[in-house]
Symmetry: D2
Subunit: 376 residues, 4 copies
């Protein structure tokens, strides 16, 4: 696959040609983001899932551990070391941070496209990484070449990655985290549109379902502690803070507070954005902001900006790669409140990873991502 110089449009025309199916693997496939990547790849018309690794569950059939997948795959989890990862066209890394850094180089050397769902290559400044993750970054050269995976906002990075792939060069995409995705989608049009009060603090209060806390069984994820409870966590210290500041280019201006609520999937980020009335000439009502946002996202198949008066429901996007955004502008306070709903495992993790891979491989962005959310 590597080495092709075919531009995206021509590759698109090959869709459905069985011989052109790309060989895909998921590294760290037994976790929640990993198994969602597995699910999406099993239903993807252009990627063929050929391996799913999990050192802890090697030898176990995937559908034994996750019986929802019965009838969809006969694969077993394999050990990382046993998987012929280098033979893959694309590897999705759903391993914890630091593990991705150690797995990626060999894949890159083998010419495999790496789509990293971990945090290891998200922060452009290795010192910032070292500070927030309490460990030095060991792959700075690779970091510098990586593309950030949030196509609606960092389109130029992912397009550049597609170009590299088309030129036969190595590609690593660091997909945005769940909170950064929702928060940035909510805030980017106002900030990029230069409507925000200079130096003003941006406040993002976000709420996540429990899949966001991961598969590890502990008190936090115990049903009886999580159910019928609300709590904030990582207050003023959550690692997604510098990532959001980087995406939105608002260094030292973000107050980010994540919360846990009793549901499986779903993430809602409510972002309070002080608007500079002087800068925002002619943008004075909620409807104006809705127009601006709709225009900003007009080419994005996954982002839906709701009309004034509507608020997004996380239930509307579960199981999909969609985001829905609601806007309310209070002219008296001069504040825009933008609320974005995503599926933390979809657009917040595996969906976005597949979307990024689609773009890199010249496929339609929505290939394999067109399932319809349950209406109820």
């Amino acid at each position: 696959m590597q080495g092709s110089t075919a531009p995206p449009l021509i590759i698109e025309s090959l869709q459905g040609d069985f011989d052109m199916t790309f060989r895909a693997g998921v590294v760290g496939a037994a976790g929640f983001a990993g198994i969602e990547a597995v699910r999406l790849l099993l239903g993807h018309p252009d990627f063929e899932l050929v391996c799913a690794t999990s050192d802890a569950n090697a030898g176990v059939r995937i559908d034994e551990m996750y019986p929802a997948l019965r009838g969809s795959t006969a694969l077993e989890f394999t050990k990382n070391a046993d998987a012929d990862l280098g033979s893959l066209d694309v590897a999705f890394l759903a391993v914890p941070h630091t593990a991705a850094m150690s797995v990626a180089p060999a894949l890159i050397d083998a010419g495999t496209v790496v789509i990293d769902l971990s945090a290891d290559f998200r922060l452009k400044d290795p010192d910032v990484y070292a500070k927030w993750y309490s460990t030095p970054h060991t792959e700075v050269a690779l970091l510098e070449k990586s593309a950030f995976g949030l196509p609606e906002i960092k389109g130029e990075e992912i397009r550049r990655a597609a170009g590299l792939y088309a030129s036969g060069e190595s590609v690593l995409v660091a997909c945005a985290g769940c909170y950064p995705t929702a928060t940035s989608l909510a805030a980017a049009p106002a900030l990029i549109g230069n409507l925000v009060k200079e130096d003003a603090l941006i406040v993002a209060d976000a709420i996540s379902g429990v899949t966001g806390a991961g598969k590890r069984a502990c008190e936090r994820t115990h049903f009886c502690f999580a159910n019928e409870n609300l709590e904030a966590y990582g207050v003023t210290t959550h690692r997604h803070t510098p990532e959001i500041e980087q995406i939105l280019e608002i260094p030292n201006r973000l107050v980010f507070t994540p919360h846990l609520a009793p549901l499986n999937r779903g993430l809602l980020s409510t972002v309070t954005i002080p608007i500079d009335a002087g800068l925002a000439q002619g943008i004075a009502t909620t409807e104006d902001f809705v127009s601006l946002y709709k225009d900003f996202y007009k080419a994005s198949p996954f982002v839906c900006v709701l009309d004034a008066g509507k608020q997004p429901r996380t239930a509307s996007v579960i199981g999909t790669n969609n985001a829905q955004i609601g806007l309310s502008y209070n002219s008296q306070l001069g504040v825009l409140v933008a609320v974005c709903a995503i599926d933390n495992l979809g657009k917040g993790a595996a969906g976005q990873a597949v979307q990024c891979a689609n773009i890199v491989f010249g496929l339609p962005q929505a290939a394999g991502l067109s399932n319809i959310a349950k209406a109820i």
Copy 2:
């Protein structure tokens, strides 16, 4: 479409040919079963959803009421009276009982295949219907011609319906209810295999998520009453009792108790079946029953019989048309406990309806029903 004499195989070969897409409508589309039918039809390769009726919501865009469908359809709900139902190839009736009886005849006269999700045509004996539904059956002639829609058990009826369709004759399929589907799938192989103690009572205790209680907002469906609560209802009086007795041919032998639990979708039926050791020669262990059940369902793409020691989880089948069955045989008591999990809106309603329509129209059973459940 009607009038074609093409046998199923040839129709199958036409799949994907746009001109051969069948025109489908959902009558009573705003309810939970109706909107799930809408969702399935929107993603179906061979049916095109051309109308969705709801007298109460006529003029409202479907995706305004159910924002999960944004981007998937621009249709509005229409009034029944305004819809050109007669122009449809197939109409899915998701209206309350008695309403289906009044809608069906005109559709049948117009040559439209009717797939009825209501209870109106399920009970073969109109007197039994009158007794349990407290209203006389007004379409006895149509009732006599109808086919019962539970393909894994009543395959001959649905195949006959397909034959009628192929011959250009009218077709009405009365799809099995949610509890009858799960309960019958759990019990049928033992009963049809003639292993059950003669005249012994069969006890089915089933649990449903709250979508089973329907869309009407009332105390029963109020979050704060349903959440953190378990209760039985319709004890010894639930209308699905005679339907299950009819399917399994066990008149006056079923004790059926449904329960409500705090989840959206999912239905689990636990059926306790006294086995006659004399009849069940050579079938003496759970493994033996598993083999028998696997054999019984070997041609059914939607039914998965789990190995001994495994129990089904409703979460594994949500959003799909799948059923999973777990078996435990207690030889000391001479009792088989068979547990079946389905999605009450999937195999228990809209999924089964689409499956039945697929068969009638000569399509693969699983057309439009191949989505993969979320693993988590």
Copy 3:
């Protein structure tokens, strides 16, 4: 009871004397706040519940509608018009806004202490009321005499009310709303301590369980719509905004966004407060703020300020009148994030009402409010 000149301490000494039990009634007792008031009064040592009104449910036994109360009361709901409300020592009004305005005057005239859980007497400025509630205030004179019921912050008002009662004068307490209570408890010590950046916006993002949406069965409160969903509502327009601004004396400085999450009870308010380092001399760490808050609430039996590094869980306060507060100060941003957890029906409604009544009647604040939350 009225007309006594006994100061609080002496009344306290009479606790447990059966003859001194005060006659209490709940007006609008069938709603969620009303029935929680009923529950608390049934277990209160000093108030005797003698009537519970509900026009819609008159004649129904309370424990028929709410079977959790079986064995605790044999009372029936009565019509407002049929209840001898004037014979009560105290009436708890749990009716919708505008209804309280119409019920209160006659009670006051009859010498009954009115503890109002509605919004009718919360906003001191009738024009503000008229603006936010879209109806003129019809009892301005009574409004002027009313006391605001949030004892930890507006202690002087409730103490004044106690004095009026002791002098035989009429008393109306307008209890703070659920969001205002949690938000104000989180912000008050910093604001009253004069540590907050002048004119800076305060952002309060709060999350409530579904009991906060009330007993009315509608789509919002339907289990299947509320479950597995997160959403914001009333964004920039919620009526609790002016109430919080009034309590905290921050006119036109509050951005308040409430959210709904899938649990029955519980309310968490996360308040982001810009600190003025110049004003906050010597208060430079989270620990410093914890000390300040602990000192502020040292006389309050219901407010628990958690040590640095701890965050409150709503589950810890369910069924009680307690509030728990967690604090995090980010010195780089100069921002304090204060999170307060309450039970919206407890400290956010009926618990606070009983607490206010206790103070007015000279009882210990915690009388009847000492139940221990379930640890799990």
Copy 4:
């Protein structure tokens, strides 16, 4: 306390006398049943909680681990070995099975009343214990002297224990398990009333909230696996089967299937009981059974038999020691369906333990157990 010969009535009259408070401890207090016992004892007027042991959490303040208890206790968990258990008047054992067997003898020797919440002393026949718990019973002598703790059905045993205590003799009460309590309360009046078809199978399908699965964090108790899911478990092999058969004296006649549903607390047992019309002369309607059951439980303050047509809701009994029972008799099938709702941690564990202790110590049965369930 031990050695007193005061009969119950006189001890009752001492209630509230501080000097007569009994010293109580909870062994294994950090688990769910243990911490519920802690909560009940903290609010009990006659028992003083003086120690709470947990080897795994020794040195941790109880309210640090369970912040709902802040303000209610300053105790720390202690190691079993460090606790002066022998100085207790009563020890509640909330340790896993086999651990109770090893802890109890020393307590008994020290004259401490042992209230065991584990399974170790429930099965009267040590061989049955050995078979179902896969370990020999090591305290057969103590087993023989133990009383079974299910006062509504085994009143004579618990009264005998009270007599022993009054005589200064040692007392061990083996409290019934959660499923056995609900199932037996549902079935006992019909069986003890001799109305049941001889040798007929009794089918009990029960559903429990996740606290029933215990505090250990594992896949089963992980929020994301338990939420939005229903499943059966331990089918035909659950250890509560022989316990129920023993209580009801129906050896080898019970088919018991427990299920897990997504809620914290609550247990519902639906018991299908074939009635012998010949034996049940004059008991031919649901109303007749309701009368019979009401009469059976007329002296039991905790059991409420609902009128015909009503079904119990687990939400109505949460946090209490109450049980509610609904009955439906189908005369055509000759079957009684009895449904019992309890709080698995209340009447199913800690509440029942406190009730048993109350009886043993001559206190009113309901001492410390009179809290009112939340109506919503």
